[in-house]
């Protein structure tokens, strides 16, 4: 579903990703863990097409298409979703207005009919309920005045509404309290656990993986995948730390 081969990428001329390869098949959840500065967020932004993140070598194929050949909004319409580590505040634009425009832009790009206001609100209410986010918050400007945890839950509400086929979730668990983590974990399962979908979870902690069981765990260090294993690898990391596991 997503195949990354020998990916090299740089920011401001500094190479961060140095030959990263990874393949996630439909129906799979993969986790990427790694020490600070390994390139995890860079990988997320490169896949999401953030300006300033330049691919210098390698490829990423998403459902048969060249991901890097698409603009960020085209990637979204093709079913790619990026959950931000630091969701952005947009003063003056309400969540509801933003998401309805976003969803209908995607639908239009796919040749589908737009949702009416009523249909959209019903969908938004359902997904907000799933993530236990107050519907009133969706009427407020995007992420403005939201706590860290509310922003992360809002990311997942957006994912629920947009219903992507593949999601890269960049530290969606950071900033969440224990209860919120459970809600978000269950949300990810409800929205993304399907035979035709895939997820790449970037995380620092084993705890999220208790709720969202990964099929594979990768360790990213110095811009490359240095080790791949099953869910037990995450537990081993939690117990022993990166240095020891990578040296083994």
């Amino acid at each position: 579903m997503l195949k990354i081969e020998n990916l090299h990428a740089e920011i401001d001329g500094k190479e961060i990703l140095k030959g990263l390869s990874l393949e996630v098949n439909a129906g799979e959840v993969h986790a990427i863990m790694g020490p600070n500065g390994a390139g995890k967020s860079t990988l997320a932004y490169v896949l999401g097409g953030r300006p300033g993140y330049e691919v210098t070598q390698g490829s990423a194929t998403f459902m048969g298409q060249d991901l890097f050949d698409m603009e960020p909004h085209e990637r979204a319409a093709a079913g790619f979703f990026l959950g931000f580590q630091y969701p952005v505040e947009i003063p003056g634009v309400s969540n509801v207005q933003f998401l309805r425009e976003a969803l209908n832009s995607q639908r239009k790009a796919r040749g589908e009919e737009p949702l009416t206001g009523g249909e959209f609100l019903k969908l938004a209410k359902e997904k907000a309920g799933l993530l236990k986010l107050d519907m009133e918050m969706l009427k407020r400007p995007v992420n403005v005045g939201f706590s860290g945890g509310e922003k992360k839950r809002n990311e997942m509400v957006q994912m629920g509404i947009l219903d992507p086929s593949f999601a890269v979730l960049d530290e969606t668990d950071s900033g969440l309290d224990i209860d919120a983590l459970k809600v978000v974990g269950e949300g990810i399962n409800a929205i993304m656990r399907a035979p035709e979908k895939g997820v790449l979870l970037i995380t620092h902690y084993q705890r999220l993986l208790d709720y969202v069981q990964p099929d594979k765990v990768h360790i990213l260090a110095a811009g490359r995948i240095v080790k791949t294993g099953g869910p037990e690898l995450a537990r081993q990391l939690e117990d022993e730390g990166y240095d020891e596991v990578m040296a083994a």
Partner: protein
């Protein structure tokens, strides 16, 4: 007859004086005088958007407890200047919402002089400027609080979005206060589009032009927030955004 101004005159510092000259000194004498009686409310909405230079000079005399509201959208393709002189009596209020928007090489400006020389008068001015090409947007706001203007509450808020290199904006707040129990707030900010917000919106599927329009709409909507007639506010907003569409 009034002499033609020069750039040494503070209120004409950033004006397009060649355009003023084509209008002739006679145009400078044409003041539209509006007087509000005790307790009266007046609301004026003004769209300035021709292909030739335009000069609108308005003089407001607002009696005890009266309320004058002026909403101005300046979109013209040549030099446009809207100038408002307001004299507030006891407990009177002046509300200004102003927008200058456009490209080319035109100078578009809103210039106000608000006199608080009676107790407990209030004024609130919110101006937004959006420019590109080699255009210039100016807001010059003078507030004069005389010795009798105790418990004055005056606010001025100017923000400009400069969409590309070459365009510019000037803010010139000018406060002269002779009373001692006074609140005068003023703020000015000139900046560029929030690229992270645009990217965030793109990552959810919004095409760049749609995202830009939503962001600019939110930005200028601040200036029309006090216009409670929603239909009229929508008309002014659409007129402003229409200029943006022509650019594309």
């Amino acid at each position: 007859m009034t002499a033609l101004p020069t750039h040494k005159d503070e209120a004409w510092r950033y004006a397009d004086l060649e355009a003023v000259e084509t209008l002739g000194a006679g145009a400078l004498d044409q003041w539209q005088e509006l007087s509000l009686a005790d307790g009266e409310t007046l609301r004026r909405c003004l769209l300035v958007g021709g292909d030739a230079p335009e000069l609108h000079r308005i003089r407001l005399t607002v009696d005890k407890g009266a309320r004058a509201e002026l909403f101005v959208v300046v979109t013209g393709n040549d030099y446009c200047r809207v100038e408002v002189e307001t004299d507030l009596a006891e407990g009177a209020h002046f509300e200004l919402g102003g927008v200058t928007i456009g490209g080319g090489d035109a100078v578009r400006e809103i210039v106000t002089r608000t006199t608080h020389d009676a107790p407990e008068a209030t004024s609130n001015q919110v101006v937004r400027a959006v420019h590109w090409g080699e255009a210039t947007g100016n807001f010059l706001g003078a507030i004069n609080v005389g010795r009798l203007g105790q418990r004055t509450d005056a606010a001025q808020d100017f923000k400009a979005l400069v969409l590309e290199k070459g365009a510019s904006a000037n803010a010139k707040p000018e406060l002269e206060i002779f009373a001692d129990d006074v609140k005068c707030a003023h703020g000015a900010a000139i900046g560029q589009m929030d690229e992270m917000a645009r990217y965030y919106m793109a990552s959810r599927g919004l095409a760049p032009d749609v995202a830009k329009r939503l962001l600019i709409r939110a930005f200028i909507a601040d200036a029309l927030a006090a216009l409670l007639d929603e239909e009229e506010a929508e008309r002014l907003l659409e007129a402003a955004l229409g200029v943006l569409a022509e650019r594309a």
